[in-house]
């Protein structure tokens, strides 16, 4: 089938089979490798993106379901020349090791901070518990999200 996906502010016409997941299409048709796929069962959160501003696991969504939605992946969050405050905070606090999970964590963090701009450390840790970091960078991930929250509040 033919469908139009709006990703990171641009429309893409795609010809694809009905049963393909959104993560698969984003990675393999649009080359967005920042959409990381690990468990493919919605458990690890590394493929988290935004659909109409809400964090979703793109491995559990069919590409066809995303038609008409505004999608945001890590590639649309910021770029190397101009990082998003969440990206900068993850670098400053080194909220990663291998970083396979990092795009997913940052997309979860963005959705969380939009709903809860002034969180406590405990709220942040709970909100970040939908994603898995096997390397165990959790305390630094939480610090990064807290720091990004500060930065984003200042920018408002």
């Amino acid at each position: 089938m033919k469908l139009t996906l709006n990703v990171n502010g641009r429309n893409h016409e795609i010809e694809t089979a009905l049963d393909r997941t959104l993560a698969d299409v984003l990675r393999n048709e649009l080359g967005l490798i920042g959409v990381r796929v690990s468990c493919a069962e919605g458990e690890c959160g590394s493929c988290t993106i935004h659909a109409d501003g809400k964090a979703v696991t793109s491995c559990l969504m069919l590409a066809a379901q995303a038609s008409g939605k505004k999608l945001l992946t890590v590639e649309g969050l910021g770029d190397i020349e101009k990082l998003h405050p969440i990206q900068q905070a993850f670098i400053d606090e080194q909220g990663f090791q291998c970083a396979f999970c990092t795009p997913g964590f940052m997309m979860s963090a963005k959705a969380f901070l939009e709903e809860c701009p002034n969180p406590t450390e405990e709220e942040t840790a709970i909100a970040m518990s939908g994603n898995i970091c096997r390397c165990g960078a959790y305390p630094y991930i939480v610090k990064a999200v807290m720091k990004a929250a500060d930065q984003l509040r200042q920018e408002k």
């Binding site: 967005l32 490798i33 920042g34 959409v35 990381r36 796929v37 690990s38 468990c39 493919a40 069962e41 458990e43 690890c44 590394s46 992946t73 890590v74 590639e75 969050l77 910021g78 770029d79 190397i80 990082l83 990206q87 900068q88 993850f90 670098i91 400053d92 080194q94 990663f96 090791q97 291998c98 970083a99 396979f100 999970c101 990092t102 795009p103 940052m106 450390e121 405990e122 942040t124 840790a125 709970i126 970040m128 518990s129 994603n131 898995i132 970091c133 096997r134 390397c135 165990g136 960078a137 959790y138 305390p139 630094y140 991930i141 939480v142 610090k143």
Partner: protein
């Protein structure tokens, strides 16, 4: 002035890791993100049986399926054994016998993954079912089904000293243990893939690996082609913990691509990886220790069994707990490696030291309680100190000489620069325990053994301390090397074969090179994965990276620096002695006359024009000019962890409330990186202590929870965000700028600290994993 007094310019700085921006923008390429023009897709057929021989295999229908390029069976594969590093796997790529459910049987290359999967279903196999054995102690018996040609049981690995009879007579108090450790799964986040491409009898392999050189060697052994015809391009890994060294699926990809006549990519999904690659061993410790009434340990006697699964071939675990508690006058440790029809087991982070090591710590704790000593005091009294003799005999057995003969064979000028062999060169737990207990407020928080400091309804809170040690790389499989090249523009390229599994090696090795050369950090770039440009290295395993590869990187940089300064002396400094010069920020100057106008840049030195060939050096290539002393005989790294837990005696749940990780890895090269190593180790150890274990089907040995839904990992809310890290920096005489290894002591310390804290909270010992069920059972049993 010793190097220790020197102020470092780059070492010790928390510079962001080199690939930080790639990591946060999602542009970092792992092997799964890599493609080659014309590549097709491979899939592996997996065994439904725990032990069987293939009588007949019919691939004609699979081969006839449109879109299929090749079907690979054991008949297509050279029947050579290949070995992964450290005997994590030994066997043929495929040999017509399967040894666990999930074992590799055959493989298909096809246009798409879907076609390859359909083709797998068309392969017809007539299996002769063989008897199997899952229990490692059953497998040790001579009458058990033998899984390998070499038999199931390896010779015991023994470390013994003193006189056990005397030790037992002298001991006034004895404690013992019998502990069974279930298997932890690496449970990697991220996937791995392997892409192999043949061209004119040469093969190039792209995959995520911590051990590029060892993988190249494995392909050489399996296929019997010259090393010069194999190029491994190792890419960054997702979390690995030792999973991604050389893995048989990589060898299958290489064979399949050769048969298909085109590049092949095999990608393992999480579930396939968890049931087919490897896991931590199932282990059992039986042992005892004895001490005097005032708490001096007299003897230690431990017997430890590890199950290697189908293809592991280890006869020892990295049990540096032997050295840690080696002050005892009498000791006997024996480790037995045995094969079973379960998934292959291998070295997972902290191998041995978070199992046998945890057993030794637990027996030590029992002794401490019996003599009425605080656990910190007991460790201070009985653990190794810098300068003490080491008990591990690893290298002695490979020397095949007496110590005197060995020592006589080492050139004098080298010997003088080496630390005393078989003695701990630097670092120990003393500073960690003293400074850590102070920072943690240990004296106020530890009440007495088996007693919580706070009781609130069904909730019990208490603290625990645990220690861990591990080696800093091993030399038995070869000397590690590196190349440092200075380019004519003054920039620097390091070539060293290490892994990039998130431990920041690309950054810390670059810091070492920048420090040695006196160039800005940003002028250094690094290649870590290309075996055509990087000399052989053991890679990133056994906490090898900073100590041994870092040593080689520094030595290569010093060699390049020497060559550079020789040219500089000749052309700019009136042929003075190179030792009179120094380099800072890429500028060369004569020491003592810093204000002189003669301050050439590296680039100016390398671009001096002369009509003879003494000028215009296109680049300088440095390599280690002397051999590295054998690290196993003197270097260890240490961790002491302090944990506070809350146990609910009604639900059996354990919460980690507060945490302090202390670490002695010598000089801290990058504090941000090392903090993550310490806390990451703590979290992986905490998972092993309270949740993580594989469940095997009792009938087939198949793994029942081989996915991230059923195999529980800690989440952000399960570990205190306020956890802290404290470094104690003892300067090492051999490591680069005084640094040592880092990644494995922390996981060992964590297991023991949390186990002890739980005991102090509820007054009963619980074997790990301390799941709620086990906590409740232990309380009821008590």
């Amino acid at each position: 002035m010793g190097v220790m007094d020197k102020k470092f310019r780059v070492v010790g700085k928390g510079v962001p890791v080199k690939d930080a921006k790639e990591k946060v923008t999602g542009s970092m390429k792992y092997a799964v993100d890599f493609t080659v023009q014309g590549m097709v897709h491979g899939k592996i057929l997996r065994s439904p049986h725990p032990h069987a021989r293939i009588r007949d295999i019919n691939t004609s229908k699979a081969e006839a399926l449109p879109g299929v390029y090749a079907v690979l069976t054991h008949k297509d594969v050279p029947q050579n054994d290949w070995e992964a590093a450290w005997f994590n796997r030994r066997g043929k790529v495929l040999d017509g016998t399967v040894r666990f459910v999930g074992d590799d049987v055959a493989a298909v290359a096809a246009k798409t993954e879907e076609i390859a999967e359909r083709a797998l279903a068309l392969i017809k196999i007539d299996y002769e079912i063989l008897p199997h054995v899952f229990d490692m102690e059953e497998a040790m018996k001579p009458e058990a089904p033998q899984i390998r040609i070499e038999g199931n049981l390896r010779d015991p690995y023994v470390v013994a000293w003193g006189n056990m009879g005397e030790g037992k007579d002298q001991a006034e108090i004895v404690a013992d243990c019998d502990i069974l450790y279930e298997s932890q799964q690496y449970a990697p986040l991220g996937r791995n893939a392997c892409i192999a491409e043949w061209n004119g009898g040469k093969v190039t392999v792209w995959t995520s690996s911590q051990t590029p050189s060892e993988l190249r060697d494995g392909i050489h052994e399996a296929l019997d082609i010259p090393l010069s015809k194999i190029r491994v391009m190792a890419m960054p890994c997702g979390s690995s913990f030792g999973q991604w060294w050389s893995v048989n699926f990589m060898l299958i990809t290489v064979c399949l691509a050769r048969k298909a006549g085109r590049p092949v990519k095999i990608e393992l999904d999480n579930e396939e990886c968890m049931v087919s690659v490897k896991r931590r061993h199932i282990e059992r410790t039986r042992g005892r220790m004895g001490c005097t009434k005032d708490g001096e340990i007299i003897f230690a006697e431990f017997d430890h069994i590890i199950d290697n699964g189908g293809y592991g071939f280890k006869d020892d675990v990295g049990f540096f707990c032997v050295d840690m508690w080696g002050k005892a006058a009498h000791g006997h440790y024996a480790v037995h490696g045995v094969n079973t029809n379960l998934l292959t087991a291998g070295c997972m982070r902290g191998v041995g030291d978070c199992t046998l090591g945890a057993s030794v710590e637990r027996v030590a704790d029992t002794l401490a309680e019996k003599v009425g000593m605080d656990p910190v005091e007991f460790r201070l009294k009985n653990q190794i100190r810098a300068g003490d003799e080491l008990r591990m005999q690893h290298s002695r057995s490979t020397m095949k000489q007496t110590m005197e003969e060995y020592a006589a064979s080492i050139p004098n000028e080298l010997k003088e620069s080496w630390p005393k062999l078989f003695h701990l060169s630097s670092g120990d737990t003393r500073g960690l325990l003293l400074q850590g207990s102070e920072k943690f407020g240990w004296k106020n928080r530890f009440k007495e053994w088996g007693k919580p400091h706070t009781v609130n309804g069904s909730l019990r809170r208490a603290v625990g301390v645990g220690t861990g040690a591990h080696v800093c790389g091993v030399e038995f499989e070869g000397a590690t090397s590196a190349i440092v090249r200075i380019n004519p523009d003054g920039s620097v390229k390091v070539h060293c074969s290490v892994g990039r599994q998130g431990q920041g090696s690309e950054t810390t090795q670059s810091q070492v090179a920048a420090e040695a050369l006196g160039v800005p950090f940003d002028m250094v770039e690094i290649e870590t994965g290309d075996t055509d440009s990087c000399p052989w290295s053991h890679g990133s395993l056994a906490s090898n990276t900073m100590y041994r590869v870092g040593w080689a990187t520094r030595a290569a940089a010093m060699d390049a620096r020497r060559q550079l300064l020789e040219v500089a002396c000749r052309e700019f400094f009136d042929s003075c002695d190179p030792s009179e010069l120094d380099i800072e920020d890429g500028v060369i100057f004569r020491k003592g006359i810093e204000r002189s106008n003669v301050r050439p840049t590296i680039s100016q030195v390398l671009n001096v024009f002369r009509s003879d060939t003494l000028g215009q050096t296109s680049s300088i290539t440095g390599r280690p000019a002397v051999p590295m002393p054998p690290a196993t005989t003197f270097a260890r790294h240490f961790a002491a962890h302090f944990a506070e837990v809350e146990v609910d005696i009604e639900s059996g749940e354990i919460k980690i409330i507060d945490y302090l990780a202390t670490q002695d890895s010598g000089t801290v090269v990058n504090p941000q990186v090392l903090k993550n190593q310490a806390i990451g180790g703590a979290i992986c150890g905490a998972g092993f202590a309270i949740y993580e274990h594989l469940v095997f089907d009792p009938k087939t040995g198949a793994i029942k929870n081989g996915n991230l839904l059923d195999y529980k990992l800690l989440r952000a809310a399960d570990f205190p965000s306020k956890a802290e890290v404290l470094f104690v920096e003892s300067y090492d005489p051999v490591g680069p700028f005084g640094a040592r290894g880092a990644g494995e002591a922390p996981i060992a310390a964590a297991v023991s600290a949390i186990s002890q804290a739980v005991y102090n909270a509820i007054g009963v010992r619980v074997d790990i994993p301390m799941t709620p069920e086990r906590v409740i059972r232990a309380l009821n049993h008590f």
